[in-house]
Each structure stands twice: as C-alpha cells, then as structure tokens.
C-alpha cells in the first residue's frame, strides 16, 4: 500500500472512529429511520423499485441530505474546533487527509438509507429491489456527497461558526419549498427543477416504464450533482493546498475545472431536454384517462383489421396492415379517407395514396358500390413521440416508441381508422365502428404486450367487434393466468395482483348473477400506468370484464374483502352490461344498475340502510334507478331484477333518452312493482 493511500485510509478510519461511536450518531440514525418509516407508512407503495426511485426513496435521501450538510460542516470544522488543526497543519500531509475525512462522512451517512431499503424490500419481489437498489444507492451517494461537500465548503470558507449550521439548515428547508414555488403552484421554467436537489418536482417513476417518463433527465441530474460535489471538494482541496503549499494548486484546479465542465455540460443537457420537451408538448387541461365515447362517422367503415406489429426494434416499429373496407353509405365511393399518425411513414400501399398530416386519402382503383368491400394492404413504420403538458410543470410522454417501451394508446393513430378524427388525451376518445381486429405482435425477447383485445395466443390478439385498440409493450410487462382470470401487470406488481384476484372474482360472481347472458368465467385485471390510454371503462377482453387500474391506486389492489372501490365495481358492472349485449351508449341505465349493485353489495337489501348508503354515496343522479331495482328485488327477488335488467339491456338505447325518474317508473312498470 502506498504511503499516500495509507494516510487516506487512516484519516478515513479515524473520522469514522470519531463519528460512529459518538452517542449522537445512533440517535440520528434512529430518528432518521423513524421518519422514513413514517413516510413509507403513509405513501402508496407499489414495488420496491418504485419506492426507491419514487417519492419515498427521494424523501429518505432528501432527509439525509440535511444530516449530510450538518455532518459535513461538523467534520470539516472538527479539527479547528478541538484545536488539533494547530498541530496537524504542520504534518507533512496533503489533500489525502481531507479526502479521507470527506469519504468517511459519506460512508457514515449511507446507513441512513438502510430504513428505506429494508422497508422497500418488504413491498414486493427481490428482483424489483435489486433493479432499484443500484440506482438508489448511486443517487443517494451523489446527493449525500453533494450535501457533504456543500457543508464542507461553507466551513472552509466561513470557519466553524455556529451560524453556518443554521445557514445550511435554512438552505435545506428552503429547498423543500421548491415544489411549491416552482412546481404546480408556481411559474414553470423548463429545466428549473434541476435545482431541486431533493427531486420533489421531477419524479416521474412509472412501474411499467421505469423512468422512461423522465427521458434522459435523471442521468443529467445525477451528473450535475456529481459534478457539483466534485467541484466543491476540488475547491476545498485547492484552497487548503494553496494555503499550505504556497503555490498555485494546479492539480486541484484542473480537477475543479473538469468538474465544472461536467456540471455545466450536464446542466446544459438537462435544460436543453427540458426546453425541448416543453416546446414539443401539447398543452391540455387534464390527462386523466378519457373514455372512448363518440363513434366517428364516415362513409367508409373497416370491417376487418389484420395488423402485424413488428416491435423487435421498439424505437422504430414496423406495421403490416391488411384492411377490409366497406362502403357504408348509399353512394359509390372512389376515395377513402383514413387517419394514421403523420410520423408513421407509409412504405407500401396496395392503392395510390396522399398524405396531409394525419389524414390519409386513398384513391380506389374502382368506385366502391354501397355495401361492397375493398381490401387494402399498407406497410408503414416510424417513431412516435407525443408529449403532453397538463397541470404539472414537466410534460409527460403519452405516446412513444422507444427502446425502453412502446405506448400506443387509442388516440395515437397507430393503425388506420376511418374518418378524420383521433380524439386525444384531453378529450373523449373517438371510437370507430366495430370491426374484426386481429393483431399479431413481435417484441424483443422478454418483453410483454398488452392490448385491450382478447388474447388468442402469446402474441396474438383478436376481437370480432373492436371499436378501439391500444398496444403497450414493455420489458417489465407480464401476463399471467390465475385460474380463469388474467393479470396483465408489471412484473413487480404481479404478486400483489395475484393475491387480490379472488376478491375481484367474488364481486364478479355476485354481479354476474344479474346478467345470466354474460356468463363471464373470470376477470382480466390490468395494472398499467397513471396516464390516459387504457380507459377505466375499457370494454371487456373477450368474455371477461377488463378492469384497468392505475399503478398509483394500489389500494384497489390491496383491499381485501368489503369496500372495493366504487369504480372497480362500476367497471365490472359496465363490462357485464356490454357482455350481455347492452348498448355502450346507454350510460344512464347502465350507471343506475351499477349503483344498485354497488350499494346492495355494501349494505344488502334493507330499504332503510340502502337509502342511507345511497345518500352517503352523494345522492347521485341515478339514485332513482337504484331505488326502483331494490324495490323489484324486495318484491320479486333476484329473479325479478334479472328480468328487468334483461329488458333494460334490450331497450337500453331508448332508455338513454329518459330521465332517471322516468327510467325508474319504467322499471317499476316492467318489473311489476306494486
């Protein structure tokens, strides 16, 4: 071992020896761990990786940053404080002592993260923990190194004065307000969140996509703070070296310069990406999952789609689409208008075509007589990237094809649809007239695929009456059969989802008894991301109701018996309605049945309790329908309600035009209520 390294290690060991056995150290750790445990207990915890890379992990690191600031300052001033500096300044040492102590500070602080890691490990599978741990440790190390360096720098420049600690603590506290000042409440300056050392404003972790939603920003963020930490250390070393050696500190200065360049480059790259995203983003009022609603009107409908999606190069997918077009009007048609995202370049077409933005106009070789069909073969491909900026200061990618994942929601225009309208994330999505849809997907090895279409094989999906289609592919996505039911979820969430499937099945069985025609054998539960794409009221997947929930509502998964969230109940009821042949547009009668089933599930059929629960439910618009159905059940039993619901399904479209009170009257009439 070289002499220099021996001194560095000795200084490191000595500082640890001074810090760790001190009574305040275990006390600090206990306090920190308790706070982290508290935060974990009140946060939504999805997976170990999400906990470490999301808010709980950031809180743990951010909280420790305060300890790092103070400990850095304390250790930097210790020698002067105990007047040992008077001796050691005359020792034949260099920067190695300072670096050894700095390193000891860092090592002493790392145990503050133990609580976060231990708590995260209890949330989900070890694979998720191992995936998140290296990044967490690295980022914690960078943040702590930065904070220690700041504390060190302050004491080196200002001396070991007590007010320096107050200054540092004040600085840390003010950084907590970043989200308030520059986040949702304040002005949005692209890239300004780089200065949010605690990352409160920039976390965009999605279990399905990891940090894809943040682009390359985490890398630049980490490099920026690593550079700053190195810069501050280099400045301290340069100052001490210059003073002690009485000559220009060339090596520390060169190191500081390199660190400065790294910092500046990382900041530039970060801000550049933030600005680029901000300029690309489409501003919307909300990105809550919209529900595909209105059906597009077009003189041409597509009877069948047969699409082979080649995502083996997910950054630039290729599509082979075979469409069967049919003239739906009364006039012959010679040109067909379809919509396809303008970034998807058509590489071949069986008929001549023209493009104008998203609109694709096809010239048919012969006019298409009313009711006649025409086959169309298109190949196309390209990269899709759509950013949406809602209330948050940073935009979110909602449509993308990247090496880390493919997200093609129903409004992405990833396959040709009739008409000239796609809808969007802030509007009700547009449905196309129902048609047969066969989708074959090729993905990189280990990737999972999710669509709203029923699966017919591992990578093939088909529906006879598809009105919209989404396609998600991610290396994290998995599909698993649990008995008759299906789970589609990020790998880390599978165990949790698996555990609650029986609850969904129980609820489904209870509801299905009112829809004998539907006869579902299980439920499909999709746990995806928190953005628009797969709507809450996604139509059933084949013969199974499809419940799509966000990764950010794990309580839906966690809840055991009793108290399923209303919208899950509503999703099941809505899908049973569709499976039984109900009109998707008949939302009022459907919602009335949903409310009846929900209240009944919770409080039973006692009229007084039912009424109380209805009122507690907010005295909803459809309450009269629920009351009428209860009255039928109390007079004629479940069989009576089944008959009424069957009639409602049969006449759903006409009922939609009635007010709930009128529908209730109709129910009492057809149900034979006394």
């Amino acid at each position: 071992m070289s002499d220099l390294l021996r001194r560095l290690l000795t200084a490191w060991r000595m500082e640890l020896r001074l810090v760790v056995p001190h009574w305040s150290y275990p006390l600090m750790l206990l306090g920190w761990w308790a706070l982290v445990a508290y935060v974990f207990s009140i946060q939504s915890l999805i997976s170990p990786e999400a906990a470490l890379k999301g808010n709980p992990g950031a809180f743990s690191v951010g909280l420790s940053a305060l300890a790092a600031l103070l400990l850095g300052a304390f250790v930097a001033g210790r020698s002067q404080r105990v007047r040992f500096a008077a001796l050691e300044e005359t020792f034949p040492t260099g920067a190695e002592v300072l670096l050894g102590r700095w390193l000891a500070c860092l090592v002493a602080l790392l145990p503050t993260q133990v609580a976060a890691v231990v708590l995260a490990s209890r949330i989900g599978p070890a694979t998720s923990l191992w995936r998140g741990l290296p990044t967490f440790v690295l980022e914690a190390g960078i943040t702590l190194a930065f904070a220690v360096s700041v504390g060190w720098l302050f004491v080196t420049w200002l001396g070991p004065r007590r007010w320096v600690y107050l200054l540092l603590a004040g600085g840390w506290l003010s950084s907590l307000g970043w989200d308030v000042f520059f986040g949702g409440q304040g002005p949005s300056i692209p890239g300004s969140d780089l200065l949010d050392v605690l990352r409160t404003a920039s976390i965009r972790y999605e279990e399905l996509w990891g940090r894809l939603m943040e682009g390359e920003r985490p890398v630049w963020f980490n490099l920026f703070y690593a550079g700053l930490a190195a810069l501050f250390v280099a400045l301290v070393v340069a100052r001490v070296t210059a003073r002690r050696n009485r000559r220009a500190p060339l090596i520390p200065a060169a190191f500081a310069l390199a660190a400065l360049m790294l910092t500046a480059s990382a900041a530039t790259a970060y801000v550049r990406q933030a600005q680029a995203w901000a300029s690309q983003a489409i501003t919307v009022e909300s990105i809550q999952p919209p529900e595909p609603a209105a059906t597009v009107t077009s003189p041409v409908v597509v009877d069948a789609w047969e699409i082979a999606a080649d995502l083996t190069d997910p950054a630039s997918p290729r599509f082979d689409a075979r469409l069967t077009l049919r003239a739906a009007g009364n006039e012959p048609i010679s040109t067909v208008t379809l919509t396809l995202h303008h970034d998807l370049e058509i590489t071949s077409s069986s008929v001549p075509h023209e493009r104008d933005g998203d609109v694709l106009t096809l010239a048919l070789p012969e006019p298409l007589a009313p009711g006649a069909t025409q086959d169309l073969h298109l190949t196309y491909g390209g990269e899709l990237w759509t950013l949406v900026q809602a209330f948050r200061p940073l935009p979110d990618p909602l449509v993308f094809t990247t090496e880390r994942g493919v997200r093609l929601p129903f409004f992405a225009g990833w396959y040709p649809v009739p008409g000239e309208e796609l809808g969007g994330p802030d509007t009700s999505g547009v449905l196309h007239p129902p048609g047969r849809f066969v989708l074959t997907v090729s993905v990189p090895r280990g990737w999972g695929v999710c669509t709203n279409l029923p699966a017919t094989g591992e990578t093939t999906f088909a529906s006879d009456r598809a009105t919209w289609a989404v396609l998600y592919a991610s290396p994290r996505l998995r599909t698993e059969r649990v008995g008759a039911s299906t789970i589609i979820a990020p790998e880390a969430i599978l165990p949790t989802a698996r555990a609650v499937i029986p609850n969904y099945e129980a609820l489904l069985a209870e509801y299905a008894s009112f829809f004998p025609i539907a006869a579902p054998d299980g439920v499909t539960l999709a746990v995806l991301d928190s953005f628009a794409g797969m709507a809450d009221h996604t139509p059933p997947a084949g013969d199974q109701p499809l419940v799509v929930i966000s990764q950010n509502t794990p309580e839906d998964l966690m809840e055991s018996t009793g108290g399923h969230r209303y919208f899950i109940s509503d999703a099941l009821a809505a899908d049973l309605w569709v499976l039984a042949g109900g009109d998707t547009g008949a939302t009022t009668p459907r919602a009335g049945i949903s409310e009846y089933l929900w209240i009944r599930h919770r409080v039973g059929t006692d009229p007084a309790q039912f009424e109380q629960a209805l009122l507690a439910n907010g005295g909803s618009y459809t309450a009269p329908i629920a009351r009428a159905l209860l009255a039928i059940e109390n007079q004629r039993g479940v069989e009576g309600v089944r008959e009424v619901i069957a009639r409602m399904i049969a006449e759903g479209a006409s009922l939609q035009d009635l007010e709930p009170d009128q529908i209730a009257g109709w129910i009492e009439e057809v149900g034979g209520a006394r």
Binding site: D3, R6, R7, T10, A11, M14, R17, L18, P21, H22, V82, R83, F84, A86, L87, E88, E89, T90, F91, P92, T93, G94, V97, R244, N245, R246
Partner: protein, 296 residues
C-alpha cells in the same frame, strides 16, 4: 540544524507583527523571549509553515520555508501555544494516528510511539482517553507527538503557560533532555525557562529583534545598570516612572527595589550583580532597531 531568518516582516493591515527581523539560530536549544504581543508566536508560525510572511526569507537546514514548506514539515516537530487532541481517543491511538500522518512506516511507528510515550512518562496512561488528561499530561503528550518522526527541529511555543510550578520544571527538564542533537526553538515570556535551558536566545519587542546572543551576553547588557534601592512607599510611583523595576520587597516599612537604570536612581542605589531577567529588561526596554548575527 541551522535556521536563518532574513528581513522577516509580517503585517496584519497596519499592524506590524514582525518588522524586518533577521536572526541566525545555528542549533541547540534556543530561547525566544519577549513580552506578550512581541511577535514570538507570529515568528514561530512562520517557521512551522503555518503563516506566510509579508516579506523576508526563512531557511531551515537550507530549505526555504516559503518555497518548500512540505520539506520543512517533514523535519519538524511543533508544540503550539494552544492545541488539542481528539478527546475520545487514548494517547496511543492519537500518537499512532499522528505517526501515520508524519509518514512513519507502520513497524517503526509502533516502536516510536512506545518510545515517545516512555520519554514523556505517559506509558502508564497510554490507554486512557485524552479527554481525562490534566494540563501537564496534555503538554507532555504534545511533546510526544512533536518527537514522533525524530524531527531535526522542535519548535515549542509558550509550553509552560498554564502549568503549575512543578509541572513547569518537569517540562523544562524534559525539553533539555530531548534537545540533544536537535535544534529546539523555545518561545516564552518566562525568563526562568530560558535561563534554565537555553544556550542561545533572542529577545523580541514590538515585532523587532531587541537582542540576540548567549544568556551571558544578555546578562552583560545589564552590567552596571542594576541597582538595589530602598525607597519610602510614597516614592514608589516616582521611581517606577523613571526606571524599570525588576522586583520589590518590603523591608522594615520601606520598600527595597531592584531596578535597571543607566544612572544611580535617587543617587542612593547600590549596584548589584545582574541576572538574565535584568538583561532581558535592559534590552526589551530599549526598542531601537538592531540587526545582530548571533554566534552562540
């Protein structure tokens, strides 16, 4: 190990802590005397590379302190006026740590640590926490750390301040014992410390060198200028305002003063044999700027 100081000045704003000091210390145990604020500590701190002078040059063993401080540190042991240790460590751990910092190889370090602990009579307390040490023990530990690495030059700044008389004498003797083949530079304002141990000395006054030479030469500076004079208590103030009073005692209702003065005070003084303290007062009272080359 020879120390050569040439035209050394250190200014703090308008305050001249050192003002053109030139001095040569050829080796041995050398005392640096002067009242508080004379510039002793400033000079010491420049010698041990802690301070950069405003102007002038210092070489230690031929090494320029300003140009090559690291080399000076490698040959230096220093006991500052005020210093401390990590209180939670014991003496052995503290010295072992300092030994590493002084680049002593591991095997040699263990031997040296034990030797210096023995030297300063702290072996029995080596495993006690430094925080429990008395002032004298800490001073001895200070010497022990300074001796690590077997330095050629030992710089000791006001080492006996705060020690009780017994500890002071023990400490002084220890310094003499270890001075041996080293140069020991002892800064103090206590003349007795120098008198008992140094073969050469210099006196600083208001940042300037007032004397440099041997103790005997300093004594000679007072020869013929030291008087014993008996005065009435009422005359005390008048005498003290005209001459430097070295000491006083009351004898039979009158006050017997030992004074340094060029003329016989009140015409009734009795000349007496001068001592080092008289010499010190004789030179420190006259602040003319002088430059000496000292040959001890």
């Amino acid at each position: 190990m020879e120390i050569v100081i040439e035209e050394l000045s250190k200014h703090y704003g308008s305050v001249r802590a050192l003002d053109g000091v030139s001095l040569r210390v050829p080796g041995g145990m050398f005392g640096l005397l002067g009242p508080n604020g004379a510039g002793k500590t400033t000079l010491m701190r420049i010698l041990v590379t802690l301070l950069a002078p405003t102007s002038g040059r210092v070489t230690i063993g031929g090494i320029d302190v300003m140009r090559d401080p690291a080399k000076v540190r490698a040959r230096l042991g220093y006991i500052p006026q005020e210093f401390g240790f990590y209180r939670s460590l014991n003496a052995y751990e503290m010295l072992d740590y300092i030994g590493t910092m002084k680049r002593i190889p591991p095997r040699e370090r263990k031997r040296q640590v034990e030797a210096v602990l023995e030297e300063v009579n702290l072996t029995a307390d080596a495993k006690r926490r430094v925080g429990t040490y008395s002032g004298g023990m800490k001073q001895r530990l200070g010497i022990a750390q300074a001796l690590l690495g077997d330095p050629d030059l030992l710089v000791v700044d006001e080492p006996t301040a705060g020690l009780d008389p017994e500890e002071r004498i023990r400490f002084r003797n220890l310094l003499v014992r270890i001075s041996g083949r080293r140069t020991v530079l002892l800064s103090t304002h206590i003349v007795a410390d120098v008198e008992a141990s140094c073969t050469g000395l210099a006196v600083l006054r208001q940042g300037r060198l007032a004397f440099a030479g041997t103790p005997e030469e300093l004594v000679e500076r007072a020869r013929g200028r030291v008087w014993l004079v008996e005065v009435e208590p009422g005359e005390w103030d008048e005498v003290a305002s005209r001459v430097q009073v070295v000491s006083s005692r009351t004898v039979g209702g009158r006050v017997q003063l030992r004074v340094v003065a060029d003329e016989n005070p009140l015409g009734r003084g009795v000349p007496v044999e001068p001592g080092l303290e008289d010499g010190y007062l004789a030179v420190s009272g006259s602040a003319q700027r002088e430059e000496w080359l000292v040959h001890v």
